[in-house]
Amino acid sequence: MAINIPQTTVNFTVKGTEIRMVLQGHLDCIHLGSVWRQTFKFLDKNSAENVVIDASDVVYCDGSGATLFAKVREKVKGNMQVVGLKKEFLPLVDMFELETLAPLPQKSKVSIIEEIGRATHSILKDLREIITFTGELLVAIFWAMKNRRQVPWGDTWINAESAGVNALPIICLIGFLLGLIMAFQSAVPMKQFGAEIFVADLIGLSMLKELGPLLTAIVLAGRSGSAFAAELGTMKVNEEINALVTMGLDPVRYLAVTRVIASVMMTPILSCFCCLFALMGGAIVILSLGYPLVIYMDRIAQAVTITAFLAGVVKSVAFAILVAGVGCLRGLQTGTGAKAVGQSTTSAVVSAIVLVAVADAIFSVVLFALGI
């Protein structure tokens, strides 16, 4: 048997200073929308001293319907009467008094100067925290070197596996494709001058000295730096960090050092793999141009000195400390709630990439000054 639900409607009649509203149907949040709009549109246009709501044909009323009555009562400053409402819904009519609701806070306007001041304060505070954390981390690393038996090596190996071994396929793939693309893009214009064999110099020098460590650091920031921040952030939200502190354990020594050591061990190796696969990518292009492999390898051996290779390794160690360190710092700085973990993760990646770029610029200047 089909049940006919009457449409929820409202009709208005004006008699002098009195408005009569006739409501019909279901007064619940699902059916109330259009009635609410019509009611307040009408009341805004027609001023009345008194409103009488005829609810004889109201089939159902719940809290949302009661809010409509309360809103009308507030609008006409209390001069409202509900007639004909079924007995079971009557207690709802006086349930809500909007006048007694706590006022919502006013949105305060913030001046540009105040905003600049707040932003500067936030940057300086962040800088201070980075400096403090760097100090704590260095102390913890020295402590770990002196007390090697107390370092949780199990955790360190697990982190080395997730940050290093598990990242190997993606690093190799990106390195290979980068080498292939760079070689191909540079070989075409260089061929016009008969200099395509110097593609080997280009790939060898740029990858081993510059792009290999940089690319590895960026992948590490996106993969492991964010994971460190999310892990430590979740631990902070779940009060696991507090538990460590109350057990007398230093979170930096116990959590950050293992991650930094693992990253420092794995990043140079990853960087070497990245360079090796980039050279392989370049080799494919050179072979396709008709040069034998031995010439390509000879050019690389001539172009890349051992000092340039070591400079790349030193860079990748420095980048690893930056990425892992900032990942752990952002994790330990996490506030409360799921949103805070997300913010920490994003901040870890962004900060790591910025720091790596700045460090790379400094390295470039220093290496140039040293003649490397």
Binding site: L32, G63, A66, A70, L92, M95, L101, A102, L104
Partner: protein, 249 residues
């Protein structure tokens, strides 16, 4: 009294193991119904079946006449609008203020204008005495307040049934008794049916109209009745012991 929830022959399994075996019970409109039992007896599993989060191995669950087990996606949405759920942790969205948390279901499921949504949400917060905290984030208020805010959110669409999972867990006795009063007041004024999973005996004696007791040994309902009845007249010694907090007679 007319039943609003009918459970027939409900059997639940988890990874092949029987958790609940052929449960039959009815929950009447307007009552405060408590699901009780020892740890690991399947109370929360039963609750998750009742709110449609888990599909039963067999059996049916009718909410206001509609079977949530066999319902299509569209019918299921309609059924879910009739119920509200408060999870044990509150499960408020941490990135939203309390007001935004309560407004969310109204924005998603109704065509109400923004001022109506705000007024209704503020009224719901007023019902749980949190209107002054409307612009606070969940992390800025206490655990008891978070549970009350979660009740306000669960009531946003004026559901006929409210499911509460361990509402008193982790609360101090005063906050817990305030929450009991709130449940009774809402059941009385808004005629909401409450289905509550709890361990707290003082709460159960205060609020429960009827209790079912699950036993993990048999995976069935071993007792049904008012808490005082079960404590004083149950023939099962384990049930009497449970109601007397483990003290032997």
């Amino acid at each position: 009294m007319e039943p609003i929830i009918k459970v027939k022959n409900l059997t639940a399994k988890y990874e092949g193991h029987m958790v609940l075996d052929s449960l039959d019970f009815e929950i009447h409109r307007g009552e405060v119904f408590v699901i009780l039992g020892g740890s690991g007896c399947g109370k929360s599993t039963l609750l998750k079946h009742l709110i449609g989060l888990y599909a039963p191995f067999s059996g049916s669950i009718h909410i206001d006449g509609d079977d949530i087990v066999t319902a299509s996606q569209h019918e299921r949405k309609k059924i879910l609008r009739k119920i509200g759920v408060m999870y044990q942790s509150g499960a408020l969205f941490g990135s939203m203020t309390l007001l935004q948390n309560v407004q969310m279901p109204l924005k998603l499921f109704t065509d109400l204008p923004p001022d109506a949504i705000e007024t209704i949400a503020r009224c719901k917060l007023k019902l749980v005495s949190l209107d002054a905290f409307a612009h606070h984030f969940p992390a800025e208020i206490s655990g008891g307040m978070q549970k009350r805010a979660a009740i306000a959110r669960a009531m946003a669409l004026d559901p006929q049934v409210l499911f509460l999972d361990e509402p008193s867990a982790g609360l101090d006795p005063i906050t817990s008794s305030e929450l009991d009063e709130l449940i009774l007041q809402l059941a009385e004024s808004l005629k909401i049916t409450f289905v509550i999973v709890t361990h707290e005996l003082p709460s159960i004696y205060t609020i429960a109209s009827r209790v079912i007791m699950l036993d993990k040994r048999v995976k069935k309902i071993v007792a049904v009745g008012s808490p005082h009845e079960l404590r004083d007249t149950s023939e099962d010694p384990w049930v009497r012991k449970f109601f007397k907090r483990g003290k032997d007679e």
